[in-house]
Point group: C2
Chain length 81, copies 2
DNA sequence: ATTGAGTGTTGCGTTAACATAGCAATTTGC
DNA sequence: GCAAATTGCTATGTTAACGCAACACTCAAT
């Protein structure tokens, strides 16, 4: 069991106008931890993933996935906004 | 950051007619690990949570939640089946 | 009566998800 | 110009999520 997990933390964070420190404070972790997650250096615990999704007000699957996320430009071009 | 995470693994597993070994094999972990999760002895990684939800064909939030799940009898009584 | 499947639990070892500190590079505001 | 905020990266330490082995218990089937 070792699968790659893709995430859109940076995208949701930028959209919400939050810095890493802001998000880190909101979920109660170290700011570096957010950086490690965004870069894919390591995978979050379920607890942290649920907390992050909660802050953004979306489901876990919208932020984390085994499948790579399409680029924002691709997705908007499809009219799914 | 340390919140309790409730889960309905046992319920979904029973509904699917799977033993712990079956589920463990399906997601690629040790059978004891499933037992530990069901009892709440420890919380799963996001990777494991996504895999389990994938096996059951439901979203992560339907299996894992910060809020306790209502009993099955309660939920069926509400007519939400 | 006994075999096997499912489960509950304990113990020990490994690994990775965290915390924390530190420093350089870049950007933004004053 | 300088200072503060944000980010990128490295290093070290702790803790908990795992793997794995072992054993007891219950229950269904033969």
């Amino acid at each position: 069991m070792s699968r790659v997990i893709h995430n859109r933390i940076a995208m949701f964070r930028a959209d919400a106008g939050l810095s890493r420190r802001d998000l880190a404070d909101a979920v109660g972790v170290n700011p570096q931890t957010i950086g490690f997650l965004e870069r894919g250096d390591y995978k979050p615990s379920l607890e942290l993933a649920l907390s992050i999704a909660e802050v953004f007000g979306v489901s876990v699957e919208l932020v984390f996935s085994f499948e790579p996320f399409p680029s924002l430009s691709q997705q908007l071009a499809k009219g799914r906004e």
